[in-house]
Symmetry: C3
Subunit: 340 residues, 3 copies
Amino acid sequence: MALLNYKIATIGSHSALQILKGAKDEGFSTIVICLKGREKPYKLYNVADEIITIKNYKEFSKIQDKLIKRKAIIIPHASFIAYIGHDDVEKFKVPYYGNKKILKFESDRNLERKWLKNAGLKLPKIFKNPKDIDRPVIVKFHGAKGGKGYFIAKNEKDFNQKIKHHPEEKDYVIQEYILGVHMYIHYFYSSLTGELEIMGFDKRYESNVDSLGRISARDQMALPASKVDPAYVIVGNMPIVVRESFLPRIIEMGEDVVKESKKITPEGLFGPFCLETIMTPDDEIYVFEISARIVAGTNPYTHGSPYTWLKYDEPMSTGRRIAREIKNAIRRNELNKVLG
Amino acid sequence: MALLNYKIATIGSHSALQILKGAKDEGFSTIVICLKGREKPYKLYNVADEIITIKNYKEFSKIQDKLIKRKAIIIPHASFIAYIGHDDVEKFKVPYYGNKKILKFESDRNLERKWLKNAGLKLPKIFKNPKDIDRPVIVKFHGAKGGKGYFIAKNEKDFNQKIKHHPEEKDYVIQEYILGVHMYIHYFYSSLTGELEIMGFDKRYESNVDSLGRISARDQMALPASKVDPAYVIVGNMPIVVRESFLPRIIEMGEDVVKESKKITPEGLFGPFCLETIMTPDDEIYVFEISARIVAGTNPYTHGSPYTWLKYDEPMSTGRRIAREIKNAIRRNELNKVLG
Amino acid sequence: MALLNYKIATIGSHSALQILKGAKDEGFSTIVICLKGREKPYKLYNVADEIITIKNYKEFSKIQDKLIKRKAIIIPHASFIAYIGHDDVEKFKVPYYGNKKILKFESDRNLERKWLKNAGLKLPKIFKNPKDIDRPVIVKFHGAKGGKGYFIAKNEKDFNQKIKHHPEEKDYVIQEYILGVHMYIHYFYSSLTGELEIMGFDKRYESNVDSLGRISARDQMALPASKVDPAYVIVGNMPIVVRESFLPRIIEMGEDVVKESKKITPEGLFGPFCLETIMTPDDEIYVFEISARIVAGTNPYTHGSPYTWLKYDEPMSTGRRIAREIKNAIRRNELNKVLG
């Protein structure tokens, strides 16, 4: 198809392997932009027709003309956004899959919270003032340290003592501690057809907290606290399926988020997104975050998930689903509906 | 095939997605019976040729004639049995896949235990009288609360103290606490060929107990006990494989259960079933329960499991295996052998 | 292809199912050698064209002529090596896939450590003398007890007290305790093309340590220590994917191990191998062991892994990859390059 002289491009990290493989499966040529020295995975798996290396992410803006000339469409992922920065992404001239206007609602915790609350989702309580703490909380730091340093406090006094160990941290959130299990829900909403899909689920694999329980309570108590301090740094993802009776509610949660997104910006949220939830023994589903783009939790499903295989009789990763959506848009002459 | 004017029907929950998808892959038309408002998953994945909505499960008996007229064969799953009730299932007039007579042996804990013991399986000890507790035990409640409230007691005294917190609970079992890891074994036994298959394995994902270890022992001790009380409510399932050297024993366990089932009811157990086990560091396999039908633990394998792919060169979920069995029975003119 | 009158043979255990299935998919006939009574899995899944039963593993040497007559090529796995013994494997006359000379570098902990260190990998510190213990350590026993008895000690004094409970154990290692999550990396290095592949990743499922965190800290403290003693006996494996940004480093780790292996024995390491790692919250990857052959952690991927599906448009297990390598070697008339 002549229309497929468009090329799919992304930054080599996060979920680039499935994005590029999925694009090739849909008939696109692919481009990966890599930091020098980080090209090997894309060569090894042979998913990139072209590899453009840059020295640092600031150079990214310089290759825009090159990408435009190649008719590249950029697929954003979390590393892309983190490396380039929200503001620069918005100024970006290369055609971009997704709605850029949604980015600030995702990155600003207050706007994000308002969006999810207005969509009717259940959120953990946030305590703006430590004086208000009336139940166990988890204190999460933002910024460079990733998932390190987070701590649980049982009350205000406990919080005041523990926060002293983090004198340098000013940017944190005091969140109600919800005891339940994590479940990451992968959605895809088509701006072409108005249909919502559930692509799958994952459970993150976090270091060191997912190993903590392998140390007996006696040993944990015996070891110095600093040696068994939990950290929540994501190092991988595991496939999982959800109890089927939750699906009707999970579908509605996704629909409500999309519906509400159209109130905050006309085009609304479309393409892949993820609700990051905690499911409690009382069958409550708490949402603590939204990712308004592809998440790395879809990486176990480069060859399709237990859910996509129900709908498609071919392997359908989220990366491939994006490429198919772009192909459908090109065919319908509605590319404007998927570029943001 | 003209014989495929039979239709496969089930209730929309539990493992209905793979049952319906599997039936379609085998060439059957499908019907899903849903509570009003719970149809969305079956529409989204397009696995049902007909959706019949009912207001509550009592209405189910009223649609029997409708189902019979459509030549529907009902595939039971745990939610089906739970919603309709064992007694009503037995009176059910719509053709039913499986042996209804096995249901009471599964639902009555004493009969179930006798069956498994006579099959030579290793079971956790049950203490009928708290006075007999001579080792750590887990106390499990039955009925509406699901996996909530279960507690571990180290001896009789500990039991007597903790049971006080559950004055309303009369129906519980005091089970030897086996420290090992859970493994759920998915079998399929063909009443047509006499062959037993291992379809796969899973590990349940339970809230909140599968998150408990992510809280450091220090934090657990600091938080009020009520905030870190374990509960065992299933919210999902994860794929897993077993150490290959266990397979010969696991196959024999399945064979022994089937053999023994033929002593308690002539047709015996056939179709999918699951042994719910704990594997200890001493290579013991304790069986704590049997499910005499498809389990939700097979849901990670809608597109086949690491085991079914060894035997079949096409995706073979347990749901599809059921449909294939029915198709084979129709072809052999032996439907009576698979309907109960 | 006439050349495929070679047969693929292995011992019935560990990863034999995928090895045999993979060999058949590549067009080979297959032979499985089983202890009497352990044939059932290979019949059930129909992966063996011939089953040779032996009474015990000492009989294995007696069937060598039979195997040679059939033009069998033996694929070794951990159980094969463990049952036959390193020394006997080296004397083995049947054509053997892999480099036998590498075996002693894997089985001798000092040689193994030197190899990995020289390859530039980060290893946990080993304390030869308890007096040197200056941080928390894990004490691992070797030999018959598998993963049982391992203990964590916070300092020399703690070590000296705990080691008293194991008067019979002389063969142990005192290893720095690294708090992070386990990640098992499956590599394949082709001695024909010089290419390295990442086949996938797994997480072991160990009894009882992977259930320990499901017991609340309060309950663990209340139960007798002997009832909650951790053990690390592998009973299964779970699929997992790694954070994509780690891949460039992981590929280099594999390349460095292969490069170094060529210094210790001319042919070096080739075929499948596994680095057993711990990933810390500081993004460090500690390697605590190498397996210089197929690992059971590849068993979740009999139908391909999220990684092999990127490279191959057909299901490529590690077992099948081995068979393909042998087939390629036969075609190139370079069998000597893959037999050791």
